[in-house]
Symmetry: C2
Subunit: 209 residues, 2 copies
DNA sequence: GCATGACCATAAATCAAAATCAGTCATAAG
DNA sequence: CTTATGACTGATTTTGATTTATGGTCATGC
């Protein structure tokens, strides 16, 4: 069954546009979740922003949680697209890694939602935001792990446990991009990349040569 | 002014022992803080365990916080001792690092208190436990940073920013010893050391040789 | 036929009463 | 006399009863 979501907008009898109510709702909810987090976003507020009656939202989404999930999966999907776009298996592992990091750091809209959700996890511990962050984390970890396996096969990386190493790489990234900022001036993108290179690519020790 | 803390314990007129009330209080409080955390430890409880009146505690310590601080500084001091005992500047940096890690992981009593406090930070966010963990963290960071500077001078380590690198090493350690356990089976001490070696000493990349 | 907002049940915020606890001090013990 | 003590106090936290807010429904009207 296909549901109508488009309606003509008329003025003096003439069609001057169409309005996709579902899209309106999704956009309003996106902005609200990114701005206020999951808990502080109310369905009435979303309806107001979307210029729709509250009941209308429930013709598209069964619950608040489903609406949130749809938006979250959009974000995750967008992240996967970025990754796929940037990864080129003809190029070296570290090239791909840094290009993906760069691109991910660019995407404001994704970042705003994720930052707000991780703040909500710290401050109130909303289960839905907790769960959302877990999902995002596991998507990222799965990508890194896959790439590590590939690079290991290509003998670009040493033999290692991809699960543990991907976990460590992710934690390192989070440490540099967000935990460091709690007590220090934020690092530049260049500093972040340089330190990831130092640990992953070169190693810290001076080797006999 | 010197305060009495020792008293003779007599039986049928004969001295059969002495009791150091301050030591009793410190021991009781140590166990209680490690078992229940800062907030859930009450002064009355400490008095009960120590077999003293509540008022007696206040002849040695002005406040609950001061009592806690004294115990915390004992722990920190013990950690510094361990470090000093294990570090030998004639040996390589990574040797020292791993020996210190080993010894720190042994010390049950220290670990119990610190684990309880970090749980308290997550679960209730008691300011005193927050502050305590910050102090411990900065002691550890200061040690790592000092050792990194020394190793850099000895040309054992590459040129790097000691502040950022010590921060990353610490975060890596925490990731391996405690964050990993939230979703996986704990790693063995050997696995932990092996991965720290992989990242810090060797680097992950296969280098042309 | 579809959007809507008043409506309902439940979950969250509020607030006052009750309980707890850090810290004091008058008294007891030695 | 000196020191230990636990009943006491005021401030803070917990509790639970009441109010408010919110997710979700549905009868109405456009």
């Amino acid at each position: 069954m296909v549901m109508h979501t488009d309606y003509d907008v008329r003025w003096e009898g003439k069609i001057i546009g169409t309005v996709d109510r579902k899209k309106q709702v999704l956009e309003a909810a996106s902005r609200s979740f990114a701005l206020f987090g999951y808990k502080a976003t109310t369905m009435e507020q979303v309806a107001k922003i979307a210029n729709v009656g509250k009941g209308t939202i429930y013709t598209f989404f069964d619950t608040k949680e489903q609406l949130f999930d749809e938006i979250l999966h959009e974000v995750i999907s967008e992240m996967k697209n970025i990754i796929q776009r940037e990864v080129d298996h003809n190029k070296p592992f570290f090239d791909n890694l840094f290009r993906v990091l760069d691109s991910l750091l660019e995407f404001r809209s994704e970042h705003e939602l994720l930052m707000k959700l991780s703040q909500e996890v710290r401050d109130v511990g909303t289960p839905q935001s907790q769960e959302a962050m877990n999902q995002v984390e596991s998507v990222i970890l799965a990508y890194i792990e896959k790439e590590i396996r590939h690079a290991m096969m290509q003998k670009e990386l040493r033999d290692c446990d991809p699960g543990i190493v991907s976990f460590l790489m992710f934690k390192m990234y989070v440490a540099l991009t967000s935990e460091w900022n709690k007590n220090h001036e934020p690092l530049t993108k260049e500093q972040i990349k340089e330190h990831i290179r130092l640990f992953l690519e070169d190693g810290l020790a001076v080797h006999a040569s």
